[in-house]
């Protein structure tokens, strides 16, 4: 027997996920921006209690004219800053929940197709392709128009159009793992399918899924904004897209009415994209282990 061997100590332990994330300046910017948006949303009922749709001020005041309205008021006298902070809640919430719906459907279908193969895979992939051939925004429009716009229907519609891409991604990753030694070793020790998928396959496809998820949230926010812009948003809540839509009429004279919420949309989507990029690198196990 060789006796105890020492483990090579010079191979560095990979730093924690957060540490790796922070190393990238773009990810830091993304996180900061997202924090700002989320913070605004969370603080909305405190900063601007009451309904942001209340007409409380003189209409079309420019930002800075009245200290009570730092971002000015729209054509109906509504506080734009209130609208943006409350809108942040709505946008982020819709984005997150819609993405969750897409994740549940997409990961389920993708993993099932990838792992079981054969007829199961064929059927699931035809279903996926069917959904993919329908132009996503039109599909969303149709669902929302038919079911009457409200937050639940919007979430459902966005979720139903977002899952096919995710399903294909998950299927590809599962296929890659399924034929590899990791799964073979698990089969050899007698693990059940559920155990293999749940404990070994899914955690290892987590990385690309998380990155996709961040992009999906961004897309959901954009889609919701587009729906609201077109007047198909939930009429009872304030939404960035709705605000941009409302500001359309006065865009040549009081462009700030549309620009402020527009910038908010840009900020949120940019933040999520940067974060997704950073997560992609941070979660890349091979890079971390170098």
């Amino acid at each position: 027997m060789t006796g105890t061997l020492t483990i090579s100590a010079a191979r560095p332990r990979p730093a924690g996920l957060v540490a790796r994330l922070i190393r990238r300046p773009s990810a830091v910017v993304g996180l900061a921006l997202l924090g700002l948006v989320a913070g605004a949303g969370l603080a909305a009922p405190v900063l601007y209690p009451g309904d942001p749709l209340d007409m409380i001020g003189a209409p079309l005041q420019w930002p800075g004219m009245d200290p009570a309205f730092p971002l000015g008021t729209d054509m109906l006298g509504r506080d734009i800053a209130a609208g943006i902070t409350h809108g942040a809640r709505i946008s982020l919430m819709i984005g997150a929940v819609a993405t969750l719906v897409a994740l549940v459907i997409g990961v389920g279908i993708g993993a099932g197709a990838g792992y079981y193969g054969g007829r199961v895979e064929a059927a699931l992939m035809r279903l996926t392709e069917l959904f993919q051939t329908i132009p996503p925004f039109l599909f969303t429009l149709a669902i929302v128009a038919v079911l009457q716009p409200s937050i639940p229907t919007i979430v459902l519609a966005i979720g139903l159009t977002g899952w096919p891409g995710l399903a294909r991604l998950v299927r590809a990753e599962v296929l890659r793992l399924r034929d590899g030694e990791l799964v073979q070793a698990s089969i050899v020790i007698g693990a059940s399918d559920a155990r293999i998928i749940g404990l070994h396959i899914l955690p290892n496809v987590l990385a690309p899924v998380v990155v996709s998820a961040s992009i999906l949230v961004a897309n959901a926010i954009l889609t919701e904004s587009s729906l609201a812009f077109l007047g198909l948003g939930d009429p009872n809540v304030v939404s960035w897209g709705g605000m941009v839509g409302a500001g359309r009429e006065v865009i040549r004279t009081d462009w700030f009415v549309a620009a402020a919420p527009g910038l908010a949309i840009v900020a949120a989507v940019l933040a999520l994209n940067l974060l997704g990029d950073g997560l992609n690198d941070a979660l890349d196990l091979k890079r971390a282990l170098r």
Partner: protein
């Protein structure tokens, strides 16, 4: 680390070669003061396990080190110092005076060009010959590397050839301009054993025909025994033993060499015989011990061994060298010495 003194100047001389890497603001030395030489018509095998620096040395010879690596020392090819050469000057030498073949032939072959076209390109890159002449030369090269039916193979794409065939094509490309030195970095590791034997026999025959020198980089001592004239054993970036292949196997001197020779499963051994092990493993780049790099694993290491790395000294004839303070005190190996087949 002085060059060999023999009749006829060596065609390749390496003196005090040092290679280091820049990794995350730290400078790590990978090869420390390596020196050797190769004469025309002979095969020098550089043997060692993974991480010993043998491949890096090969890349340094051809000026192919990665961007974050730096090499210092002297590399003289046919009397001319080439280590500092850059760009165009080095490119002119590569392929014409010194050539290299790699472990994986597909890294050298372009998958979208026919093999004939690639060899022709290799020729016309360096010499001003007509396409027709280049083609004729290519066909004769293909025949020389024993590829059957060269006319037909000329127009084939690499993916249609087996691994052994591809390696032959790569050899043909390397030999296209009759280089003085051929560096072969693990040329047969990826091949089956029957094909491996043919490829190495082919290299031997070509060497005899053309008089070129061959530097064979390998981890396989069996190959060294059959195809090398002289051997350089490397460990953790340093040469630990150098000498003729016959002497190395008959009476290895350095403890690492002895362990390496003994660790190979030997044919004809009794059933269930334990192999001689080397406990532990090679120290990683950043954690080299101060003295002899092998000392932590060496059964014969003593205090002086751990203080400074022992120099490579001549023992016996000038050609035999060992980097060990204690080699004289070591007992004779427990197995009978190995005699190489003629």
């Amino acid at each position: 680390m002085s060059a060999e003194t023999r009749t006829g100047a060596p065609v390749l001389e390496v003196d005090d070669l040092r290679i280091s890497f820049r990794e995350r603001a730290a400078e790590r030395a990978a090869v420390h003061g390596l020196g050797f030489s190769v004469e025309a018509g002979e095969t020098l095998a550089i043997v060692g396990e993974s991480g010993c620096g043998k491949s890096l040395t090969a890349f340094a010879l051809l000026g192919l080190l990665p961007g974050n690596a730096r090499a210092s020392g002297r590399v003289r090819l046919e009397g001319r110092d080439i280590l500092g050469l850059e760009g165009e000057a080095m490119r002119r030498l590569r392929g014409t005076r010194i050539a290299m073949i790699f472990q994986e032939p597909m890294t050298a072959l372009n998958p979208v060009l026919t093999i004939g076209a690639q060899i022709v390109e290799a020729i016309r890159e360096h010499e001003a010959v007509s396409a027709a002449d280049a083609r004729t030369r290519t066909l004769s090269l293909l025949a020389r590397v024993r590829i059957p039916d060269p006319e037909r193979r000329f127009g084939e794409y690499p993916h249609r050839l087996s691994g052994g065939m591809r390696q032959r094509v790569v050899i043909a490309m390397a030999l296209a301009c009759a280089p003085a030195v051929l560096v072969a970095d693990e040329p047969t590791t990826a091949l089956d054993v029957t094909v491996q034997a043919e490829i190495l026999d082919l290299i031997d025959d070509l060497r005899r025909e053309t008089g070129m020198a061959v530097v064979l980089i390998t981890h396989d001592l069996g190959l060294v025994a059959e195809h090398a004239d002289r051997v350089l054993v490397m460990y953790a970036g340093r040469a630990v033993e150098a000498g003729s292949a016959a002497a190395l196997f008959a009476a290895p001197r350095h403890p690492y060499t002895r362990a390496l020779v003994a660790a190979r499963p030997r044919p004809g051994s009794a059933l269930r015989q334990r192999l001689v092990e080397i406990p532990g493993q090679v120290p990683p780049l950043g954690a080299m011990p101060p003295g002899c790099a092998f000392a932590p694993r060496c059964p014969a290491a003593e205090a002086p061994c751990r203080e400074t790395p022992p120099p490579l000294q001549s023992v016996g004839t000038a050609a035999e060298r060992v980097a060990c303070l204690r080699w004289k005190d070591l007992r004779a190996p427990d197995q009978s010495p190995v005699r190489l087949g003629a």
